[in-house]
């Protein structure tokens, strides 16, 4: 089975570039150049150096002893939470800012949900001295206030998305509109493996550093490159894509993708796209998405702003359709409990997105000698207000 995007950006039946003609020149310029640019030795050198010295990579692969004892299996945490700016998002923004520079762009736009991608974009724009505009849903601005402040300190302009559900989907619409209005000087840094081809493929390649490191780190610790299971949460799917990337064609490695069930799959307040979604088109990509019978995109819900998206990337739609990955949904309550448990057992406060992945251990049992790698996509600092409210801390 092939899990890489084809020439036109399809993963099986999913993907492609369903974009208005106004975006065609921009997207085509990127499509024609991204692989060439990424293959340039000077690009790779700059990318790798920044990942090492600026982001702090490699991120540790940490054996979580007490968590493993509790669930009687072997759990390693891939510590993306220890990256500069606190999540995996920066791997992608470093890659894309270098891409933007090589394409001669001077103005950067981005969408953000939890604010992690917005912060990661504002950070690399500061680093490169480029103008930065971040679109963020009005609701997310309220629930992720610390990240809004961080973006402002980093010199970005944060523009509220006031339409629709006023969350990530709408911020993405606004960013796309901005790109349509500014077709020459502007580069759009998408924050996940979503959007028109070549974004899903490009972002997956930048995040692939996660599984590249897991391979040699696990070899050092366990004497083998392959874990039995990899677990990651899926909003758009970028941290999962990075954690799976080098294992996609290796059927011995079981992949578990964790979606946000919100208040419950049947509650009407959910973001579990693989269960509630159907094939359709969102943000320029044919994929699974939550929609009405009439093809109107529905408003998702999750306590976690980073998972509050009505679609998944086309790679994940394909992994779901082919059953290469197993999709699990986790409610707000299950995720919050698992988040607190990691604090108590390992002294790590996880992002609520990552806490969804951790909740799998309560739902599935693994064998004592199985090696599980869980991608801890981010740290929980940005979520303190949500934790405080939820647990009445």
């Amino acid at each position: 089975m092939n899990y890489k995007a084809d020439q036109k950006g399809y993963y099986g039946v999913f993907g492609g570039a369903y974009i208005p003609e106004m975006l065609y020149p921009n997207v085509e310029e990127l499509r024609q150049n991204y692989l060439k640019i990424m293959a340039e030795p000077s690009f790779q050198k700059e990318f790798q150096e920044l990942l090492k010295d600026y982001v702090g990579r490699p991120s540790p692969l940490y054996f979580a002893k007490r968590l493993s004892e509790k669930y009687t299996t072997k759990i390693y945490l891939k510590r993306e939470d220890l990256n500069h700016t606190g999540a995996h998002k920066i791997n992608n923004t470093i890659g894309q800012i270098l891409m933007a520079k090589r394409l001669g762009k001077s103005r950067i736009i981005a969408e953000t949900g939890a604010g992690q991608h917005g912060v990661a974009t504002a950070t690399v724009c500061a680093l490169m001295g480029l103008e930065c505009i971040v679109y963020m849903g009005e609701i997310d601005i309220a629930r992720q206030a610390p990240n809004v402040a961080r973006m402002k300190m980093l010199g970005a302009t944060v523009v509220p998305a006031l339409s629709g559900s006023r969350t990530l989907k709408d911020a993405t619409n606004e960013a796309i509109r901005d790109w349509i209005n500014n077709p020459v000087d502007t580069y759009y840094i998408i924050g996940s493996v979503v959007g028109p081809h070549p974004y899903p493929d490009m972002v997956a390649r930048f995040q692939a550093i996660i599984s590249e490191e897991i391979k040699w780190q696990l070899k050092e610790k366990e004497g083998r490159e392959n874990p039995d299971v990899i677990i990651a949460c899926v909003g758009g799917g970028s941290n999962a894509a990075g954690a799976y990337y080098h294992y996609l064609n290796n059927d011995e490695v079981q992949l578990i993708a964790v979606e946000a069930a919100g208040l419950g799959i049947d509650s009407g307040e959910s973001a579990a796209t693989s269960v509630l979604g159907k094939e359709g088109i969102i943000h320029g990509s044919k994929t699974l998405l939550m929609q009405t019978e009439d093809g109107q995109i529905t408003e998702p819900y999750s306590i976690s702003a980073g998972l509050d998206y009505p679609g998944v990337g086309p790679l994940h739609a394909h992994l779901h359709a082919t059953k290469r990955a197993e999709f699990v949904s986790v409610t707000d309550a299950e995720a919050m409990k698992a988040g607190l448990e990691l604090c108590e057992l390992e002294g790590i406060i996880p992002a609520i997105e990552s806490a969804h992945a951790l909740a799998v251990f309560e739902k599935q049992t693994f064998k004592p000698n199985e090696v599980i790698v869980l991608n801890l996509s981010g740290r929980g600092d940005k979520d303190l207000n949500t934790y405080i409210d939820y647990f009445k801390l």
């Binding site: 974009i19 106004m22 065609y24 209005n181």
Partner: protein, 254 residues
Amino acid sequence: MNRINQKLQEDKKLLSIYFTAGYPKLDDTASIIQHLEKSGVDLIEIGLPFSDPLADGPTIQASSTQALKNGITTEKLFEQLKDIRQTVSIPLIIMGYFNPMLQYGVEAFCKKCQENGIDGLIIPDLPVDVYHEKYKAIFEKYGLINVLLITPQTSDERIDFIDAISNGFIYMVSSASVTGSQSGFGTVQTDYFKRIADMNLTNPQIVGFGISNNETFTQATKHTKGAIIGSAFIKHLTANGIDTIDKFVKNILA
């Protein structure tokens, strides 16, 4: 002959008006069409509302949101159009995003269009190559003209391709923008209109985006076959309802 092609043969500059189906009120669709025809409009674009209209600015987006709240659906729009050909003969084009059509079933959608007197479609997020490879034959089977877009950034080579696979008119987006974003044209736009006119394409061009009054209509049609007004008309409907449509149109054509 398709009503759009017939209209394009008339020796005059054409005015096309866009409105959102189900707005301001759910059942205004048919009477807006009748008013527009009576006022001397040449072509009508009926917007099929979408929750996430990427190529539209705030005005059309807000009207779509309201129309959806009013209860418009794809099926409902077809019901509203059921008897429209008993009262009007003006060319009718549905403009909508691809996902609602995909969910309806592209072939079922095209069939319904034909049954209800629709002459053409404009689907901004159905890319030219996908249309060409997968859907052109279906559109043609049901006698529908697919109107394709070009922008100031579209290369000559691509314009030639778009011209080759079009069989009605080319929708010329006046500047790189979403709908409703600008007022008035500068030399950049007029140069662009002229450049395209000089390409002597097979299909006539009709300009859209940024046309709001007599002045911009005249400028836009100097080198082209016609112009499309959308956001300005929606604003008129929002402010005045549907009773003074003829006044709006008279002002444009004055």
